[in-house]
Amino acid sequence: MGREGEVVATLLPQFQRLHPDIEVRVQQLPWSAAHQKLLTAFAGEATPDLCQLGNSWIPEFAALEALEPLEAAVAGSRVVASADYFPGIWQTNVVAGRLYGVPWYVDTRLLFYRRDLLAQAGFASPPRTWSEWRQMLAAIKARVGPERYSVLLPLNEFEPLLVLALQQPDHLLRDDGRFGNFESPGFHRALEFYREAFSNGWAPPVENTQIPNAWEELGRGYYSFYISGPWSIGEFKRRLPPEEQGSWMTAPMPGPEGPGASLAGGSSLVMFRRSRHKAEAWLLLEFLSSPAIQRRFYDVTGDLPPRRSTWEAPELADDPYTRAFREQLERVKPAPRVPQLERIVTEMRLMAARVVHGDLSVEQGTLELDRTVDAVLAKRRWMLARGAGR
């Protein structure tokens, strides 16, 4: 999919030298159409053998019974060693106790910040806890005045709030994903912190469509913190002028009490159940999962590898910008693994925007969100009850 699809095509000749008897045909899909295309392919019984799948889609395709479970293949593999993978990322592929994918590359979100602006406000290092972060946000806002802000939290992105919520001990759903758990004290804390960031003027109440270029705006100092993923490293290097290059840095997410968790995102490689070439597909999956190939893949795409051994490569281990990601990846958590995840986080985002605009209080918002999510999960409850009855 997207850029990864192009790069895979360049890695394939090496695979074909190893396995001249296997013919591989690569089909590239744009990300924006991939989800729908794959569902259509499933309905039309034309699914591929091996496929890249965003790891948040895995529960959905597992519910369709479209994916091949991989525990046995992994247990017998000398290449795919589950202990070498970051545990949070590995977990995104496990649905109801079964393994449906092998992580291919990882995405997680952390802080991009302006070192110079933080230093001017009197802070030598980035925040490790929410209380340190609060102090910095307030101090920066006091310095920059009403026209500028401390942090960008786009109201049409669910990820920042989801990260804050994942840092809490309470799960977002309860009873094995049967009901929402947004009235928990943990989610309250996360939403309260989020609301506070806007009501104190630390974050501008905008959507990312109103920030045409989030990287240049950080360079201009419109805000000093930006929660984003690994792709932003390349964007900052490319878009900021040379004299501003020394001013930005990455840092792991601060947490409520100490270093915090973040979201385990990224893509996995999955095999479809209807495939008639499973043995061959597994060989290709192993090839793409080997540390040497993953390293080449990183060099070309900048997509971060999911295996600790790949991270020993000097271009990853010695890069000051990826170091924070290395640390963060040990502390990533999967989002709730239910097929309705995307709907749930969208409802969460809409509710949070109403809280930020003052239409709802935190209490009203969480209450209403639980009610909405419970309705969204009604069919899942019915399915689970029926599965237990059979």
Partner: protein
């Protein structure tokens, strides 16, 4: 009898095509709207449940549906008169004997209709930008404070209306131009001889003779504007705070984002009934006015 048969035989190809490509899908969609067809049903049809009118009842109780319907009605109520007004004004300008280069202006006014929506939406997003946009720069020149067009829930819909009117008025303008050209010149001459001024000519000659055209344009525009989708899809994604979420956008989300095809089909049928009712009302009103 045989003539009747022959008639049916001649009509059969068209009837079959209409049946297969129109009535069958509509009936199928109606059947789907009575079920809870979703992702689980896609996996295994045994997970499909017949729910009767529950989808409809749920929609009628849901905040999102009324919100979307309210937004759509706002768009229609404000957008249609503005759009038709702009079309008529442009048609009068283009048709006026005083206008130079009428063909040039016809092309310019028609250009937005044929321009790709996504491309012009991108340009409009820049025009409407809070800090760098040309429109706020103009407002600033008039001494007004900048408006957060696409970020403020109160201004997002006006911005969408403005964009939609600009995008669409050229189409109706062409219809009005054709109608204006079919008004005989001697009527204006007669009015002129009777001492009518420009406004009287317009209100007593032009408008009455344009009435059938206005009616047609009105019905088409209302039906089209109720199906608001592409503008919010590319400009605001239904936001901020769902202030630009239209009924069709809600249907798209339910159907193609969340795969609740049962609920999405129910939305489609409700919208169909609403448009049907409004169009019937329009036709009745215009007929009564003609009778009067």
């Amino acid at each position: 009898m045989r003539a009747g048969l022959a008639g049916w035989a001649f009509a059969a190809p068209a009837l079959i095509i209409i049946g297969v490509f129109f009535f069958a899908p509509v009936l199928g969609a109606f059947a789907v709207s009575l079920t809870d067809f979703d992702l689980y049903a896609l996996a295994d049809l045994r997970n499909l449940r017949f729910v009767g009118l529950d989808n409809y009842l749920e929609l009628l109780e849901s905040r999102d549906f009324w919100r979307a319907l309210g937004n759509t009605c706002y768009f229609v109520a404000a957008g249609v008169p503005l759009s038709i007004g702009a079309s008529l004004a442009a048609a009068l300008l283009v048709n006026s004997r005083l206008t130079r280069l009428p063909a040039f202006f016809r092309t310019v006014f028609f250009a937005p209709v044929v321009a790709t929506l996504v491309a012009v939406a991108l340009v409009w997003r820049y025009l409407l930008h809070t800090r760098y946009g040309l429109i706020n720069w103009g407002l600033g020149g008039l001494g007004l404070s900048p408006i957060d067009w696409l970020g403020n829930p109160h201004w997002a819909m006006p911005a969408i209306i403005l964009f939609a009117v600009w995008k669409n008025f050229g189409y109706n303008m062409i219809i009005f131009v054709a109608a204006l050209q079919s008004i005989p010149g001697d009527l204006y001459e007669a009015a002129h001889l009777d001492g009518a001024n420009g406004w009287q000519e317009f209100s007593r000659v032009t408008l009455p003779l344009l009435r059938p055209t206005t009616m047609l344009v009105g019905v088409l525009t209302v039906a089209g504007y109720f199906q608001l989708f592409a503008e919010p899809y590319v400009m605001t994604e239904g936001g901020p705070l769902q202030s630009t979420m239209s009924v069709l956008y809600l249907m798209y989300e339910q159907g193609f984002k969340w795969w609740n095809l049962g609920s999405a089909s129910a939305i489609a049928f409700l919208l169909f009934l609403i448009v049907l009712a409004v169009t019937a009302l329009e036709l009745r009103l215009s007929r009564r006015r003609e009778a009067a």
